[in-house]
């Protein structure tokens, strides 16, 4: 029987390495280049013990003392409970002190003047935390967890205890802290002091809540714009999605495969491709305007720009998501219920209205709310097509990057947007209850789905087929546009744009990546490839903890892991800037902030996919594994993960694709050094350089298809013999705004 001394020794070693060997503070260059080794004793690169002894940063010394105390606990004769209690105390103290000193002491000394007045002055400040700091805080957190397991919490499983503590800490740092920071910014005035009047003034401004478009000649506030757009968009997406879902399941429509394909397109394309396609068709130099000018001499207008254009683009972009939600629901309506209604002499129409539709109602509400959330969080389409029509997400962007540079205003707008999103998020959770994980399981039910009544069928065809055709045309435009000289003026076929973006020169000195897009392309792939496995791992681990373990605070834990799902990307972007551009956590402008952003934005999907899949795996499998001597980690690795392969694939693909296609959050976080494909493209579009933008989009789509294939290939299939269970579809996973 173990007394956990091995685990204690391991984490003590990690902590000691962090305290004694590697640089405590963040360096200019990556710590892994080892450029710091020669400057081991310098003020910037020294490890904590040197910082404390020779550079006057005495406040780091207690951390070392606590680590030394842990060493005493390695004494072999110590009683188990005593060791566990001591670990809990030391771990918690170290963890708390670590953050306390980090948030109390900034680059120039005490952060708060009140503290400075009460405490002795400091000889110097400190920079953002580096590798050493990370190792030490991780060590304290894990020692704390080992102590908890030693006391019998988490059924005595140190792996489970450590995972819960780790995931919870990460979620607090990278989701709750930024949100808290944005709230703080909103109530600070220009000089950084707490000021409710400033907040009140920002919050109640005409620019947000004005009703000028209804009662007068001025524009409406962006909050109303956002809401109106989202309601219209959600209505449109839900109706269209339902029409498609009914066609796919309740008619003998031939091209169902094509329908499915159409639903995958928006998932693997950057969200603004639709906007781009619309510009190519309806824009000033778009096909329609060109034709009208050519045939009737009508001056090309900018009428696609504005609410109508954004709405059109969003409905195109998000209908497939509504479809994916609704098809599960429509399929889930048991045919035997409809058959029962028919044996009770209801005709097809009555069956549809009295039985089928009411059974679908929660699904319809869910689809509506998901489209609503997508719409308010959307950034790419409003920025391309909005014109003078501002919504919250674009307004936030302009407050931060524009001439205004008003962080308080950005934070306030962010809070309004966040409240809308959270309201919809909670409404959605209410609608779904906890059914979400089982309702889409696709129970095998005998009986044939009832065919639609004729009137309904005609209506569905009438709406859906033209719409689907238009979608195909838009995507086609977005591909073709990359191969012509200048859209609207010169349709000569050319590869010019591809060359400009992706030229490769082979010189005697080696290959030169001469194309303008390579930099952002490789950055995108690299960051997505790093983020994707981490996202999937964290998501599935959280799902495992949520479905397979029981611990105090599990509800809060679930809420925390799911929360970032509801936070619109622009809000995340702003909050990350506010939270992470000053010590103790100073990571803006680095690749780390992008990776962290990808991980915590996309993790909820991994959690959901994992939970859905795990709810199909009987708990007794874990228990059998446990009684056969396997601990949590072994059980996860050898029993659960192999059975979770489909969910793992889904999570990997999703997080990779989302990392590549997302715009809203990253547009705040990119830097000259780390530019992403989507931000590069958007900048090209804003500059009117459509050719390169379109060419780049097409390349991204190909990249994504390759990645999906590669992930499937690497993870492999799950084999269960002849009674194999079906893989959970992507539909069960849902999708949030870009």
């Amino acid at each position: 029987m173990t007394d956990r001394r091995g685990a204690v020794a391991f984490w003590l070693a990690v902590g000691a390495a962090g305290f004694l060997v590697v640089p405590w503070y963040a360096l200019q260059d990556s710590v892994f280049t080892l450029g710091w080794v020669p400057h081991f004793t310098a003020k910037e690169a020294a490890p904590a013990w040197l910082q404390a002894t020779t550079h006057g940063r005495v406040w780091l010394a207690p951390l070392g003392a606590l680590l030394a105390a842990v060493a005493l606990l390695l004494a072999p004769g110590l009683a188990r409970t005593l060791r566990a209690n001591a670990l809990i105390a030391i771990g918690a103290a170290g963890f708390a002190y670590f953050f306390a000193q980090g948030f109390a002491i900034g680059p120039t000394g005490w952060y708060l003047d009140t503290l400075g007045a009460a405490l002795p002055p400091l000889t110097g400040g400190q920079y953002g935390m580096g590798l050493g700091a990370v190792l030490v805080v991780a060590a304290f957190a894990m020692l704390f967890a080992v102590g908890l397991a030693g006391r019998g919490f988490f059924k005595g499983d140190a792996f489970v205890a450590g995972s819960v503590v780790a995931v919870a800490s990460l979620v607090v740092v990278f989701t709750f802290f930024p949100v808290f920071r944005i709230l703080l910014s909103a109530v600070e005035d220009a000089s950084g002091l707490f000021s409710l009047p400033a907040f009140h003034a920002r919050l109640t401004t005409e620019k947000i809540w004005g009703l000028g478009c209804v009662v007068g000649q001025t524009r409406c506030g962006v909050a109303w714009n956002t809401l109106a757009l989202a309601l219209l968009c959600a209505t449109g997406c839900t109706s269209l999605g339902l029409a498609f879902a009914l066609i796919a399941t309740r008619t003998d429509f031939r091209q169902k495969k094509l329908l499915r394909f159409l639903t995958v397109l928006p998932i693997i394309t950057p969200p603004f491709v639709i906007g781009l396609g619309l510009i190519l068709i309806f824009g000033r130099s778009g096909l329609i305007n060109q034709f009208l000018e050519f045939a009737f001499g009508i001056q090309p207008g900018r009428w696609i720009y504005g609410m109508q254009g954004v709405l059109l683009a969003q409905v195109f972009a998000f209908t497939p998501i509504a479809f994916l939600v609704l098809i599960g629901v429509v399929e889930g309506v048991s045919p035997s219920m409809e058959e029962a209604a028919q044996t009770l002499r209801a005709n097809r129409w009555r069956t549809f209205v009295d039985v089928s539709l009411p059974l679908m109602r929660p699904g319809l509400a869910n689809a509506f709310l998901i489209s609503f959330i997508e719409s308010i969080a959307d950034f790419g389409n409003p920025i391309l097509l909005g014109g003078n029509f501002g919504v919250l997400s674009t307004e936030i962007f302009f407050s931060v990057v524009g001439a205004q540079l008003d962080q308080g205003r950005a934070a306030t707008l962010g809070i309004v947007l966040l409240l809308f999103a959270l309201a919809a998020f909670f409404a959605q959770r209410r609608v779904l209850g906890r059914k979400v994980y089982t309702s889409l399981a696709g129970k095998g039910d005998s009986g044939l789905p009832t065919q639609l009544p004729d009137g309904v069928r005609r209506l569905c065809y009438g709406i859906a087929i033209p719409w689907a055709t238009l979608t195909v045309v838009i995507y086609a435009m977005a591909v073709v546009g990359g191969f012509v000289e200048t859209w609207g003026r010169d349709y000569t076929p050319t590869l010019r744009h591809y060359v400009k973006a992706f030229a490769i020169e082979f010189t005697p000195n080696g290959v030169i990546w001469a194309g303008a897009a390579w930099n952002s392309f490789w950055t995108t792939i690299k960051l997505a490839a790093i983020a994707s496995p981490l996202t999937a791992a964290l998501g599935i681990l959280s799902a495992y903890l949520l479905t397979r373990q029981k611990f105090v605070g599990q509800g809060a834990f679930e809420f925390g892991t799911m929360l970032s799902f509801a936070i619109p990307g622009t809000v995340i972007g702003v909050s990350y800037i506010l939270a992470f551009n000053i010590p103790p956590i100073e990571i803006t402008g680095t690749a780390i902030v992008l990776i962290v952003c990808f991980i915590f934005r996309n993790m909820p999907v991994g959690v959901r996919a994992g939970m859905a899949a795990m709810s199909q795996i009987d708990k007794s499998l874990d228990e059998a594994s446990t009684t056969l001597g396997a601990r949590g980690f072994t059980t996860l690795r050898r029993v659960i993960l192999p059975l979770l392969k489909p969910a793992l694939v889904a999570a990997l693909i999703y997080s990779f694709v989302r990392a590549v296609t997302t715009v809203s959050a990253v547009i705040f976080l990119v830097s000259a050094e780390y530019e992403m494909a989507t931000t590069y493209i958007i900048n090209r579009v804003i500059n009117g350089d459509y050719g390169v933008a379109i060419a780049y989009c097409s390349v991204l789509i190909v990249l994504m298809l390759a990645a999906i294939w590669l992930i499937n290939y690497l993870v492999g299939e799950r084999k269960l013999g002849r009674r194999a269970a079906g893989a959970p579809r992507l539909a069960t996973i849902g999708r949030n705004a870009a």
């Binding site: 029987m1 173990t2 019998g152 059924k155 005595g156 499983d157 009987d618 007794s620 499998l621 228990e623 059998a624 594994s625 446990t626 009684t627 056969l628 001597g629 396997a630 601990r631 072994t634 050898r638 029993v639 192999p642 059975l643 799950r718 084999k719 269960l720 013999g721 002849r722 009674r723 194999a724």
Partner: protein, 351 residues
């Protein structure tokens, strides 16, 4: 590790406010097969899971052998369990399933496979090593589950309703095999079931549970013949409950008056007076009306192939009767005499 004894001392398990197990104490001797018997929801599975370490008790002490294991996690206990659903790993072959516990504890694959093969041979399953669980019949899956648990040579082996997913014929065969295996290998086995005939057939001792506490514990014969209360009497086989009057006449002997009948039987220390009496249906004989002072009228009759089942209205209440004379069935409405065999009439202590 050699087979070990199990001891529960005043063990309670609460789920929120609800006690799933409410202060239970017992000792299970090493190398014996003990059944936990009781209606659904009485806490049997919870007890089993606490022995395995899958649940930790809210209070009380659990010992396995000499060691106090109350707070020891499941993975560190020397206990194996055969699950009701078998819980075979669907992505592993039969051989890998059985080897799993060995490889987890650090044995090489080759070693593990060799031991697994011999465990599979022990349960009479050879030649299916490479099949996946989904490619086996229910009985075969059951055997794999047993082999997987056995291969670790656990101090204690647990079975949670192992036969409930099998058809009636296979059930009898498997229960005999489990009993045989337990005797051959000298295992300590705790076996959960809600089927009293299963419990009677395989057990050294039976612990009857009711509403989260132990109703009675004893050897099968003892429980059937001398149930402590009417719950145990009713649960250990069918029983008609009637009222009778007891009169003690000696150190152990007594006479019970049931209407016009008078039967000699052990008084079991119960005081004189009116008491509950349980009458086993197979202890009732239906004779000619004039051959017994207790008259009855047949109200229902059912033909079951090897027996007849009757419900007979009598002066002491309606009686359910199982009768062996299938060749001469009685018609509904027939008048009969009711006679009782003393071995199936039990005085129930007032409780």
């Amino acid at each position: 590790m050699p087979a070990a004894s199990i001891e529960f001392q005043n063990v309670r398990k609460l789920y929120g406010e609800v006690a799933a197990v409410n202060g239970v104490s017992f000792t299970i001797a090493a190398r014996s097969l003990v059944t936990l018997l009781g209606p659904s929801g009485c806490g049997k599975t919870t007890i089993l899971r606490m022995i395995a370490g899958l649940e930790l008790p809210t209070s009380g002490t659990i010992r396995i052998g000499e060691a106090d294991v109350t707070r020891i996690p499941a993975a560190e206990r020397d206990v194996s369990m055969v699950f009701q659903s078998y819980a075979l790993f669907p992505h592993m072959s039969v051989l890998d399933n059985v080897s799993y516990g060995l490889t987890v504890s650090g044995q090489t694959r080759a070693q593990a496979h060799e031991k697994a093969r011999s465990a599979l041979a022990t349960v009479g399953l050879t030649g299916l090593d490479q099949r996946l669980p989904s490619e086996l019949s229910g009985g075969q899956q059951q055997r794999v589950a047993v082999a997987r648990a056995l291969v670790l040579e656990p101090a204690v082996l647990l079975f949670d309703e192992p036969l409930s997913n099998l058809d009636a014929r296979l059930r009898r065969q498997m229960r005999e095999e489990i009993r045989d295996l337990q005797q051959r290998l000298g295992l300590t086995v705790v076996y959960v079931t809600h089927d009293q005939s299963e419990a009677l057939a395989v057990s050294d001792r039976i612990i009857v549970m009711d509403k989260a506490v132990i109703a009675q514990e004893g050897a099968p014969r003892e429980l059937y013949a001398q149930p402590k209360d009417s719950f145990v009497a009713g649960f250990m086989g069918e029983a008609n409950r009637v009222r009778g009057t007891l009169r003690r006449n000696g150190a152990t002997d007594g006479t019970i008056a049931l209407g016009p009948l008078s039967i000699a039987l052990p008084h079991r220390g119960i005081a004189d007076g009116e008491i509950d009496v349980a009458i086993r249906p197979e202890a009732i004989d239906l004779v000619a009306a004039e051959a017994s002072p207790l008259a009855g009228t047949v109200r229902k009759a059912a033909y079951l192939g090897n027996t007849m089942e009757y419900t007979v209205d009598t002066a002491i209440g309606p009686l359910f009767v199982i009768h062996g004379r299938v060749d001469r069935p009685l018609a509904v409405g027939a008048s009969v005499g009711v006679a009782l065999a003393p071995h199936g009439v039990i005085a129930i202590p007032p409780g």
